[in-house]
């Protein structure tokens, strides 16, 4: 079953970032390899035997919770899902998410994401009280967004945030998935187009797919969430004929 796994009994060296946002360095730790070992197993071994205060977040160890996010050899990954044997004989460098401030070692301060979620209004506004009558295909359409585990790997890799630091102007792909989930819920009646156009700043995304590439849940963030949201904004704000017709019929919807 597990024959492609690393050779048991062999040792592997992990270079782990130790420090905070201001200063830090990689420390090398030797870890005995067991079959199927993931990076999180190796970090737990280091905690138990060499560095009891090595800071790392984790919860479910099954890629369901999105806690153990970080960067392995520069790539955003979940530590619980990344196997040592995937790296062959390459060195393994383990770092925290770099787009957010580092609290300590492998733990970054991701509170910015939760603060944006608090600003997401309006929330879900169903057309009628439950029980709802929905078809499975309607559920399937939004179920993809509900798979998001809030690991923030997409936020980490998004260059609007990472390279350009535009935290005040764009909420990043994870929040776009969350907004898409609400916008495309078959029973929802609210509109978040103004929010997307202003504070959430979907226009800043230039569709490079980096977020989609790193999503551990395989959500098609760019195609299924961001592009449809951009289209909604374009329809609302950049179609002159539609805007003129709307103005004739009723007043412009105001911000919440």
């Amino acid at each position: 079953m597990m024959e492609r796994s690393a050779v048991p009994g062999k040792e592997r060296v992990l270079y782990v970032y130790r420090g905070d946002d201001y200063q830090g360095e990689e420390v090398a730790y030797r870890v005995p390899v067991v079959p199927g070992m993931v990076v999180l197993d190796a970090l737990h071994f280091i905690q138990a035997h060499e560095a009891p205060d090595l800071a790392v977040r984790w919860n479910c160890k099954a890629a369901h919770c999105g806690s153990c996010s970080g960067e392995i050899n520069g790539e955003p990954r979940l530590f619980c899902k990344t196997r040592l044997d995937a790296y062959g004989s390459l060195d393994i460098h383990v770092h925290p998410l770099r787009t957010f401030p580092i609290i300590r070692d492998l733990v970054s301060d991701v509170s910015w994401n939760y603060e944006r979620a608090e600003e997401l209004v309006p929330g879900f506004r169903p057309a009628e009280p439950p029980p709802f009558h929905l078809q499975q295909w309607e559920v399937d359409r939004v179920e993809e967004f509900h798979r998001c585990i809030e690991c923030f790997l997409c936020q980490d890799v998004c260059h609007v945030l990472r390279e350009h630091g535009l935290f005040g102007q764009y909420w990043g792909p994870q929040l776009m998935v969350r907004i898409a989930e609400l916008e495309m819920h078959p029973m929802d009646t609210a509109s978040r187009t103004d929010l997307l156009h202003s504070a959430a700043g979907v226009g800043l995304c230039n569709v490079t797919h980096c977020c989609t590439d790193v999503c551990p849940e395989g959500i098609e963030i760019t195609h299924d969430a961001i592009i449809p949201l951009k289209e909604r904004v374009a329809d609302q704000h950049y179609d002159p004929i539609a805007a003129w017709l709307r103005r004739l019929r009723r007043p412009q919807p105001t911000s919440p």
């Binding site: 079953m1 199927g36 993931v38 984790w58 919860n59 369901h64 301060d109 509900h146």
Partner: protein, 587 residues
């Protein structure tokens, strides 16, 4: 760190403090917030990461969408039967009556569930449920439930304190005064003042070596409640889920959802025999969890296990398309972590410690503990599940009793006229106790002691127990408690997992002792509690719960109390079961 001139802690004030941000804690917070009171929620992790996300199969509610014969009464009967009648009939009645409303409420807040062709919520079969009853979305129902509640508390503006560890509760005879905690992200102490506190801290599966539980499940809340004067009950009742992963070593214990069996998966031993036919020919793989877990254990003991000591769970007959749609997380989990494609090969599974039926003893209607102002809901509370929990009942439990605890705590807080004072000296004393492991230059490692505890609990207090084994285990745990006083955790207060574990070990050692003592006390086998020296159910024990009270010296003292009486109405609902037992026509 400590007081150098000024106070070393920040003080925050709420009407109700909720400890724990899983399903029960968040549902309680919603209830408090909806009546306009101020509520603060503290959590050991970030928002939305609690162990509830690992619940895969679904939430049990007798909606009767597929089987019109189903009803809350049948669900009540199933719950009592599965609990081997040592559970609280009142709690089971409330659960089964209120679960449907709690599920529809989730829809109103944005949750999506899989649908029937008629457009209603789809329900799946699960072990020991008479009808198809579990509302689900794929195999990530717990995440859906938690995310929905997370979005709801975010919208309501509930104050949330992530990565905060509570170490002590303060009270007087009229109510709670607050809790002392420290924040992992800056290592600072915080006094959370509130007249009412809801404990929703989950279980303590981490006392066992093989468990489906995350690092958080160390029973802190249970130990806090006990220290504050609350009673514990049914501590011997530990659920081992029949199907955890066994290979590779790093994932041992990781949950394989009962949904696999619910959707048609079969269990085979190494000889290819569908062995459940020998243990429960009527219900087969969908027998109750205690029966299936013991069956796998016995097959392995008899030498009919797989190479890594488990059974084979095979769902390949349902075809790749079906499996990918109904069990996507399971498929991904086995592919990524075990190189097994479950659409083409069998999984290797063995029992894993999954859930604590026992916990803090509460009033069925209000979730109030014996301590005024202290409430408990969800896995931390005892009573609903008795000797064995039905799959899907824990998610229903979180919603129904989370709301009830929140409502009751809000009423208590609204009626409370004074907030007891917490003396600065008491806080300073607690701060000093909490910081002690950081200041010990030499002493045992918390990691080493934790593994030792897990080994003893697994060997002596696990799926099969005996008097001498339990006695031996208890002796070792008591010795470990002495060693725990000298634990050393190098490093500082800032996000230090070794220090954190040293503090959690206090709770785990207490709860380990409670499990072993209660298991010794119950000289019979019932549900999840199986003793080789008393292998049969004893009718007299069927009328008793084991309760642990904190004596004056702070030590656990055991007594038995009668199981709460069943009302005439409940008796009428249960009647078909007694007919079943006496050999007359079942319902």
């Amino acid at each position: 760190m400590t007081a150098a001139g000024g106070q070393a802690w920040e003080t925050l004030r709420h009407d109700v403090l909720v400890i724990g941000a899983g399903g029960a804690g968040l549902r309680a917070a919603v209830a408090v917030s909806e009546v306009g009171l101020s509520v603060g929620v503290v959590s050991k992790s970030l928002l939305g990461k609690a162990h509830t996300v690992m619940a895969e199969g679904g939430v049990a509610a007798a909606l009767g969408h597929l089987d019109a014969e189903d009803s809350p009464d049948v669900h009540f009967r199933d719950t009592m039967k599965s609990g081997h009648f040592v559970n609280s009939a009142r709690m089971a009645e409330l659960l089964t009556a209120e679960a449907p409303e709690r599920v529809w409420e989730l829809e109103r807040w944005g949750a999506v569930f899989d649908r029937t062709p008629a457009g209603q919520i789809l329900q799946r079969a699960f072990g020991a449920h008479s009808y198809r009853r579990l509302c689900h979305v794929g195999d990530h129902t717990g995440k859906e439930l938690l995310r929905t509640l997370q979005n709801r508390v975010t919208q309501l503006g509930v104050a949330f304190y992530p990565e905060v560890i509570v170490t002590r509760l303060f009270r007087d005879d009229s109510g709670m005064a607050g809790a002392l905690a420290y924040r992992r992200v800056d290592g600072r102490f915080v006094l959370l003042r509130a007249p009412a506190i809801v404990l929703a801290t989950g279980g303590w599966g981490r006392v066992y070596a093989v468990t489906s539980n995350s690092w958080e499940s160390t029973g802190d809340g249970t130990a806090l409640a006990f220290a504050a004067g609350a009673d514990l009950m049914d501590m011997e009742m530990v659920q081992f889920h029949p199907t955890g992963m066994v290979w590779p070593p790093g994932v041992r214990g990781l949950l394989v959802t009962e949904g696999v069996r619910g959707e048609g998966g079969i269990l085979l031993n190494a000889q290819g025999r569908r062995f459940m036919a020998d243990y429960d020919p009527k219900r087969m793989e969908l027998s109750s969890r205690d029966v299936v877990a013991r069956a796998i254990y016995q097959e392995v003991q008899a030498g009919r296990g797989t190479p890594h000591g488990g059974a084979r769970l095979d769902i390949t007959a349902r075809g790749a398309a079906f499996i990918s749609r109904k069990l996507p997380s399971m498929r991904a989990q086995f592919l990524a972590l075990a190189d097994v494609d479950i659409t083409r090969e069998a999984m290797e599974v063995a029992p894993t410690c999954h859930y604590m039926m026992g916990g803090v003893r509460v009033d069925p209607d209000t979730c109030a503990t014996r301590v005024p102002g202290l409430f408990a809901a969800g896995e931390v509370a005892a009573g609903l599940h008795g000797a064995n929990r039905l799959g899907g009942n824990s998610l229903a439990d979180l919603l129904v009793f989370g709301k009830r605890a929140g409502d009751a705590a809000a009423r208590f807080a609204a009626a409370s006229v004074h907030l007891p004072v917490v003396a600065a000296s008491e806080i300073e004393e607690e701060v000093a106790r909490v910081l002690a492991p950081l200041r010990q230059p030499l002493g045992p490692s918390p990691y080493g002691l934790h593994s030792a505890l897990q080994e003893v609990m697994t060997r002596c207090g696990g799926i099969v127990r005996s008097g001498p084994g339990l006695q031996n285990g208890l002796q070792q745990v008591l010795e470990m408690q002495e060693r725990a006083a000298r634990l050393a955790a190098p490093g500082g207060t800032l996000y230090n997992p070794g220090w954190n574990l040293a503090l959690e070990l206090d709770a785990m050692l207490l709860l380990g002792e409670a499990i072993l003592r209660s298991a010794l006390e119950r000289t019979e086998s019932r549900g999840a509690h199986y003793r080789t020296d008393f292998p049969e159910e004893d009718a007299a024990w069927g009328k008793q719960n084991v309760v642990i009270t904190r004596d004056r010296g702070g030590s656990p003292s055991l007594r038995t109390v009668p199981v709460a009486a069943v009302t005439p109405q409940q008796q009428r609902v249960l009647a078909p079961l007694t007919q079943d037992v006496t050999g007359r026509a079942p319902s």
